[in-house]
């Protein structure tokens, strides 16, 4: 037994975002200031009360926590941040929940801010591939010596293996970006709002085959932030709390490749038939996949949605291709996914835009794209971490 129970001890008290855009020509600090201010206002919290911060996706693309504290004249008792990588969203919220439970901070702003248009050169993919330059190779499978570069290429490696192993097709995979674009059409904040068809997806150019352009997320500017505090404090603030019922940390090791579940046989993974088994996030929250009213996932590339569904047991390995057809993952379907439009169509704010949407959905604030009666929403990712929220 853990020394203390974290279920429902922490909550999201506020959520906010900057504008999202392809080329806003604003700095990451500038955008972060908008998102933090919006989240504090949403919570009805004075900025003097903010005493903790966790930033994911820091230098060299994002806004760093120490810089933000200085620029915004905050007095932080505690902060932390991750390297410029997208996978740490759930981790940040989990650490924030631990911080408030342990008394290290009372109100923790968790966020990422990105300004790709403000970069002089790309950091991932191509000559500036600092991921590929890591001592034992890049974490998305980069190996620039052979021209292997960019996170999408690692996802393409997984997609090819998935197609070969399970007999699935690119036209089936199109169901993911087609669905998320339909959702984005209902979201005024989304960058890409014009619906497209499976045929449009198939006709879009290959970037790294077998992935088409429309399997790739956006590269953009924007910031999104949520305020984590204790459940008790959250109940005294402006909006109803969104409770964090379940947490599953981010795993690492030789059997983990960022874009695939164990046993898939990419990078140095063994090959075996993956069985999701009992996922800790469900045990902690006291719910199962069938209790989830909407699912959000890190959809930097469309294939990641299939991997996440299978990893967490929404369907069996190899079944996601069929599972995601015929509107099941669309608004009004049995398991609506990424109803904000996702990284594929709303914006790529490293999953923080998804957290903001989850909070708004659980408060019933989403108008035409509201998931009717949403009470339990999950954030669950191809790379194995998860959060379960409820109102």
């Amino acid at each position: 037994m853990p020394p203390f129970e974290l279920k429902d001890r922490a909550a999201i008290a506020g959520a906010g975002a900057s504008a999202y855009g392809r080329r806003l020509m604003r700095s990451a600090i500038d955008l972060a200031a908008d998102a933090i201010a919006a989240a504090l206002d949403d919570a009805g919290l004075a900025r003097e009360r903010l005493d903790g911060m966790i930033v994911t996706f820091g230098s060299p693309i994002g806004a760093d926590a120490d810089t933000l504290a200085q620029v915004l004249n905050l007095k932080l008792r505690a902060y932390n941040q991750t390297w410029a990588h997208g996978r740490f969203t759930a981790s940040a919220i989990q650490w924030a929940a631990l911080m408030v439970a342990g008394g290290m901070a009372d109100y923790v702003a968790c966020l990422a801010s990105v300004s790709f248009s403000g970069l002089r050169r790309p950091m991932m993919g191509g000559a500036g591939d600092s991921e590929g330059g890591r001592e034992a190779g890049g974490s998305h499978g980069e190996d620039p010596v052979f021209g292997m570069t960019s996170p999408g290429a690692g996802a393409a490696l997984v997609a090819r293996r998935y197609f070969e192993r399970y007999g699935a097709t690119s036209a089936q995979l199109a169901a993911i970006p087609v669905a998320f674009r339909k959702h984005a059409a209902l979201n005024p904040a989304a960058i890409m709002r014009e619906p497209f068809s499976v045929g449009d997806h198939q006709a879009s150019r290959f970037v790294c085959e077998p992935l088409h352009l429309l399997d790739y997320c956006l590269i953009n500017d924007g910031a999104a932030c949520v305020i984590v505090t204790s459940a008790e404090r959250a109940r005294d603030l402006r909006k109803p709390p969104v409770y964090i019922a379940g947490m599953q940390p981010l795993p690492a090791g030789r059997e983990e490749f960022i874009w695939a579940y164990p046993g898939f046989g990419v990078a140095q993974q063994s090959v075996f038939d993956y069985e999701p088994g009992e996922q800790p996030v469900y045990r902690m929250a006291g719910v199962g996949p069938r209790d989830i009213d909407a699912l959000f996932t890190y959809d930097a590339f469309s294939i990641l949605a299939w991997i996440a569904l299978e990893r967490f047991g929404f369907c069996q390995p190899g079944e996601a291709a069929a599972f995601t057809q015929a509107g099941r993952i669309e608004l009004g379907g049995a398991l609506p996914m990424n109803v904000n439009g996702g990284l594929l169509s709303e914006a790529h704010i490293m999953g923080w835009n998804h957290q903001v949407e989850i909070v708004r959905q659980l408060r019933g604030e989403c108008g035409p794209r509201q998931v009717a009666g949403a009470k339990v929403i999950q954030w669950a990712n191809a790379y194995g971490d998860s959060l379960i929220y409820h109102r």
Binding site: E135, A136, V145, G147, S150, R160, C208, V266
Partner: protein, 143 residues
């Protein structure tokens, strides 16, 4: 073997104390992998100890240079100017007979003909006077 200023237009390997023996062996047209002196495990990329038993008694030893294609991709977008003339170029993941998987380019085959599970063997590509790459080609029927 230092990263000298030359005309080689593609990214060079980031040499370290760990991986230098691998690249030096390739220049001798030898394909080697680390091997654990305790448990005989083979692995890639290079590591300072055996990933299985943490033994420091490790050595570089010849490997078969044979394997199978486990997955592959084809780049249609330019990321490195040095690769532009080869677009669309393939990058394959090869599972070696010894177990580890590594990334490489397949040569002697059209991209459309690449298949999962196809048998391949190493070919030494003298990319620059001081740089030899381990690429792979379809394995000939009678080796």
């Amino acid at each position: 073997m230092a990263a000298n200023q030359d005309d080689y237009p593609k990214p060079r390997p980031a040499l370290s104390a760990l991986n230098r023996p691998y690249w030096e062996a390739l220049r001798r047209r030898e394909f080697v992998l680390q091997r654990c002196g305790e448990c005989a495990m083979r692995w890639y990329p290079p590591a300072p100890l055996c990933p299985r038993c943490w033994s420091r008694r490790i050595e570089w030893a010849p490997a078969s240079g044979r394997g199978r294609v486990s997955s592959w991709v084809v780049f249609h977008q330019s990321y490195f100017r040095g690769f532009d003339a080869e677009i669309p170029y393939n990058v394959a993941e090869v599972e070696l007979e010894e177990g580890p998987r590594l990334l490489t380019n397949l040569v002697g085959i059209r991209n459309e003909e690449i298949r999962a599970g196809m048998e391949v063997e190493v070919v030494f590509d003298e990319a620059a006077p001081d740089l030899t790459l381990a690429k792979f080609r379809p394995r000939r029927a009678s080796a």
